[in-house]
């Protein structure tokens, strides 16, 4: 189940979010993801937000399917980048062996804890054999609503690699650091890459 308050926050702050994370060239993580995929490969941007990344992937020659649960984000994706994003939640992911890569960048952290592994399994099923998952998350413990009203589920890096292993993935690389997000706080994050 998705969290209505989180989605309402993104609806209300879609433009501010789009401006906060407004890079126009791929960062090292996105470049590595693009480089690892076959030319013209099919990517799902799961929780695409304003579709800055989706647009860069499309420019790099990938075929991009972009989903977000926020109607305002979907509208922004179309307006800013001409990306035909679809308003869908994580629960809508039901396809099999469809994507060469799934880009889930700071989106799955809004899923309730009890749903996290189910979503990972759905992503695993939706990837082709050898397909690549990029997972960006904030790290920590417990569940918290931030000052903007967004619900966060936190995992530790070791919990995350355990969940990836137990849902069939092979984690291949990680990167951890701290970054200032939309709420203005500097939070620890992890970028994980895993293959099916």
């Amino acid at each position: 189940m998705s969290d209505p308050e989180t989605i309402a926050t993104y609806d209300a702050r879609a433009t501010a979010y789009a401006e906060h994370f407004s890079n126009t060239a791929p960062d090292a993580d996105l470049q590595a993801f693009i480089d690892a995929l076959p030319d013209g490969g099919h990517v799902l941007d799961l929780g695409c937000g304003p579709a800055h990344s989706a647009a860069m992937m499309q420019r790099a020659g990938l075929r991009v399917t972009a989903w977000d649960a926020s109607a305002e984000m979907v509208a922004l994706a179309r307006r800013l980048h001409g990306i035909e994003a679809e308003q869908r939640t994580f629960d809508a992911l039901e396809c099999q062996q469809t994507f060469d890569g799934v880009w889930a960048n700071f989106s799955l952290l809004h899923a309730p804890r009890q749903d996290f592994r189910r979503h990972l399994k759905a992503i695993h099923a939706a990837l082709k054999d050898g397909g690549l998952l990029h997972l960006g998350l904030k790290t920590g413990t417990g569940t918290k609503r931030d000052t903007l009203g967004r619900l966060y589920t936190f995992f530790t890096p070791t919990e995350l690699t355990d969940h990836l292993h137990s849902t069939g993935f092979t984690p291949i690389a990680s990167r951890q650091g701290r970054e200032v997000g939309l709420a203005g706080t500097e939070d620890p994050f992890i970028i994980l890459r895993a293959t099916r």
């Binding site: 090292a28 690699t161 690389a173 990167r175 650091g177």
Partner: protein
């Protein structure tokens, strides 16, 4: 003008095997510490040299604006490669003097590109010799490796 010090280290359990990298970025104005950041990461199947390279790469890539940076590494491979050998490699089209392809070429190219955005001084220190920041970078590298350690 702030001066950035990047203390970097890599670690590997088996060669190849699970590995990690770690870095501490310290922005200083004279002796005053303005800001400090820690970075770390790891891979399931890698080598010590690759982790040493990635520690330096991620340090330089983490700096959004061009900066004056001193990268402090205990890896003679990284220091020697980026300050000396790389010039010959480039002249020979990324081949060694023995005309063999340069190992870890994609990481050397990425490091070269990341370093070109900044003004970088490369410094080598002996590892595990009581340099506090080098010890901390080593701890971070081990923590970065932790999620990839082989399970029994």
């Amino acid at each position: 003008m702030a001066q950035i010090y990047a203390y970097t280290d890599g670690a590997c359990s088996g060669n190849p095997g699970p590995g990690g990298w770690g870095a501490i970025l310290i922005a200083k104005d004279g002796d005053t510490v303005l800001k400090e950041r820690e970075l770390k990461g790891g891979e399931a199947q890698t080598t010590n040299n690759r982790m040493e390279l990635l520690a330096a790469i991620h340090s330089l890539e983490a700096l959004e604006r061009p900066a004056v940076v001193t990268v402090v590494t205990d890896s003679a491979y990284v220091k020697g490669g980026i300050t000396e050998w790389i010039h010959g490699w480039k002249r020979r089209g990324w081949k060694t003097a023995a005309k063999k392809p340069v190992k870890n070429v994609e990481l050397w190219q990425r490091l070269d590109e990341a370093a070109a955005r900044h003004s970088v001084t490369w410094e080598w220190v002996k590892g595990h010799a009581g340099h506090p920041e080098n010890e901390r970078a080593d701890e971070l590298a081990r923590a970065g490796m932790e999620p990839f350690k082989q399970r029994s």
